[in-house]
């Protein structure tokens, strides 16, 4: 079913849907990293005009499903309390790459290890995904190379037009929500077929172990400052640490909170173990570790590349390190080794 919803019809739907929260890219005026710039991030949508169509978010929708800080348990002294379970439906507006990114997280939080992560699953089950059509990809996107430019598992897809949205409804929940609003229309969803960033991803079968120790990584040791922005902004980076906070002045008191907080493999301390052992001291090896997770070993484990080509890591690196170019460099090495005959 395809419909045209005028702005006010759209806003009426937002306000009449009870038990539903609408989430998408919003603009926080003046909250950007630099003065007089805005922070674009995921947040609550209260009206059509809240949705930001023309900029990429700094952090992805990941923060909604894997909060930056998330309470796991509260210890009250005698009992272990789990945080209250919420039941609001979460309608999430996001781009094709970001829908793929959520599937990448699913692989880890729902399917890896002995059991699904209950906190993640609790939210994931409540999400209804709305695809925001990318008329023109952003400057740094490389979704086409990653095969994430097209997508099919969404409940509805929207195109922004001057005075409202065109919506292509694919599932029953959205059909029932929208029944009665808007006017029937016809349009064909467009997916980007070309990106500004030209990226060539090598095939894992061709990625030899020599690449792990190749000197190409040394350059990154000199450039990367381990700020972690590439990890935090990445919609598929899923790493976290767990901390306990004690609420008793008495050190024996068991009143405490256990929480998890995002972590990242570029950050100092990520591999530190008691007694001083640590791995990947050099930032170049962190770059290699991240790169291989994104385009090699995740794929070995789950069959798809972890990176979805959203380009955020390239947008945010203060040292202007391009991950897209890093993939190309690896690809060049793979091609070279293929064309050099064995000695």
């Amino acid at each position: 079913m395809k419909k045209l919803l005028q702005k006010d019809e759209f806003d009426a739907l937002l306000s009449t849907s009870s038990g539903v929260q609408f989430l998408g890219p919003v603009r926080l005026k003046g909250r950007g990293r630099f003065s007089d710039t805005d922070l674009i991030k995921y947040g609550q949508i209260k009206s059509f005009t809240d949705i930001v169509w023309d900029s990429k978010t700094y952090l992805s929708a990941k923060e909604l499903i894997l909060p930056i800080t998330e309470t796991l348990l509260d210890f009250t002294g005698t009992t272990v309390v789990q945080p209250p379970v919420e039941d609001a439906i979460l309608v999430l507006f996001l781009r094709a790459c970001d829908i793929h990114a959520i599937e990448r997280l699913d692989a880890i939080f729902l399917n890896n290890g002995p059991s699904p992560d209950p906190y993640y699953k609790q939210k994931r089950d409540r999400f209804k995904l709305v695809l925001m059509e990318c008329a023109v990809p952003f400057d740094s996107c490389f979704c086409v190379a990653m095969g994430t430019n097209t997508v099919s598992n969404f409940g509805a897809a929207v195109r922004c037009i001057e005075d409202g949205i065109l919506i292509d409804i694919r599932d029953e929940w959205f059909t029932s929500q929208i029944a009665g609003s808007g006017t029937d229309t016809e349009f064909e969803l467009q997916f980007p077929q070309q990106n500004g960033a030209d990226v060539h991803v090598p095939h894992i079968k061709e990625m030899q172990e020599q690449l792990f120790t190749h000197e190409m990584w040394d350059e990154y040791s000199k450039r990367c400052i381990a700020c972690g922005r590439c990890n935090t902004s990445c919609p598929t980076c899923s790493c976290f640490s767990v901390h306990d906070i004690s609420y008793g002045h008495d050190s024996n008191s068991k009143i405490a909170r256990r929480q998890r907080v995002w972590d990242g493999c570029h950050l100092d301390g990520f591999t530190d173990m008691a007694g001083g052992a640590a791995f990947r001291i050099e930032c170049g090896s962190r770059m290699r570790f991240k790169t291989f997770h994104k385009i090699y070993d995740y794929r070995k484990r789950y069959g798809v590349n972890m990176c979805v080509g959203c380009g955020r890591c390239d947008d945010v690196c203060p040292e202007y390190i391009s991950f897209a170019n890093c993939i190309n460099k690896v690809n060049d090495l793979v091609n070279e080794s293929r064309s050099t005959p064995d000695e």
Partner: protein
């Protein structure tokens, strides 16, 4: 050639007395130090047609175009009218339509660092603020130097001005968004004042130590730190160079809004009017403050101003600095410095 020139009037009109009796030098204001490039053609034209083909860039970010015969002043004043009208849009139509050049030169060009049009550290648009200040204080014959700088790094040297305006960002912290990477804490400790510390994996900011540089916002990988969109300023006052008692400006106000800044600028002039030593050719405002004392100065500057709640005003003031005329007889010389040739 007969050359009967009203020196005082000429100087007030932004023309310079030079060491060559036949030649003068035109001073062009560039409020906020930022200019549309097309205006450079005017500078070029005046320099090449009337001057000696060179242009000097002043410390206050103006142009000085030297080597101009005094008799060309009227012609050039007419020529630069459009420029004056453009960079001084607040000037009265009388001033502009007279086509007689700059109406005053005492209060100097308001200089500014490049600000947030370019610099990532800047907490506001310095040029825009400089223009606002220009509107408030110019034209005026009192000799006052004002400069505007984007952050406490003070690239414009606001600490050498009568009034220096320094941009402050009020950092706001979203606990939930912090990953505890300590980047902000380490950076503030190393580069700034050590206002931040880690408590239970999260960050605490000591507002007494925070100078509002905004560095924490710049380094945070999750934007747990953001700027309060309200712009705040620190004012440092009565810094100066000069032949008597050079000194750095000292903090007068912190966390004041633009409105308060402009109000204080405006109040400076009646204070000078009231206390200036009229027997002198010109008295620099800093020396007036030395005579009246800080409390009088402070009362005059805050007169009629409603301070924003965040504002803090210095109760007393100690300037650093030194007096020339100290005894150098006991100083080392060539013969007493070991190893000197």
């Amino acid at each position: 050639m007969i050359r009967d020139i009203n020196r005082k009037k000429t100087v007030k009109n932004a023309w310079r007395i030079t060491k060559n009796r036949a030649l003068t030098c035109l001073r062009i204001r560039v409020p906020g130090g930022h200019l549309e490039a097309r205006h450079l053609e005017l500078m070029k034209k005046v320099a090449e047609i009337y001057g000696n083909g060179t242009v000097h860039l002043t410390t206050r970010q103006g142009f000085e175009i030297p080597g101009i015969p005094f008799e060309k002043m009227a012609e050039i004043n007419n020529l630069i009218t459009d420029y004056i009208a453009f960079t001084g849009q607040h000037l009265s139509t009388e001033v502009i339509s007279s086509r007689e050049g700059y109406p005053a030169a005492g209060t100097r060009n308001i200089s500014a660092c490049i600000g947030n049009r370019v610099c990532p550290f800047a907490n506001f648009d310095t040029t825009k603020m400089a223009l606002e200040i220009e509107k408030t204080v110019y034209p005026n014959d009192f000799h006052v130097k004002i400069a505007v700088t984007g952050c406490p790094n003070d690239c414009i040297k606001a600490h050498m001005q009568d009034i220096g305006v320094i941009g402050q960002a009020l950092p706001e912290y979203e606990t939930q968004s912090c990953i505890g990477c300590e980047a902000c804490v380490k950076n503030c400790r190393k580069k700034v004042t050590g206002a931040l510390s880690m408590v239970d994996f999260k960050v605490e900011r000591d507002p007494r130590r925070c100078i509002g540089c905004g560095e924490c916002v710049l380094v945070c990988p999750t934007q747990a730190w953001t700027r309060n969109p309200q712009k705040f300023f620190r004012l440092v006052v009565m810094g100066r160079t000069g032949k008597k008692n050079p000194r750095l400006a000292a903090p007068f106000a912190e966390w004041v809004t633009a409105k308060v800044v402009l109000g204080i600028m405006e109040n400076l002039y009646p204070y000078i009017q009231q206390y200036i030593d009229k027997s002198l050719v010109k008295e620099h405002v800093g020396y007036i403050v030395d005579r009246t004392g800080y409390q009088v100065f402070r009362d005059w500057l805050l007169r009629g101003i409603t301070l924003n709640p965040e504002a803090r005003i210095a109760p007393t003031m100690q300037w650093s600095g030194y007096m020339y005329g100290y005894d150098t007889d006991a100083w080392d010389t060539k013969s007493t410095i070991p190893g000197s040739l």
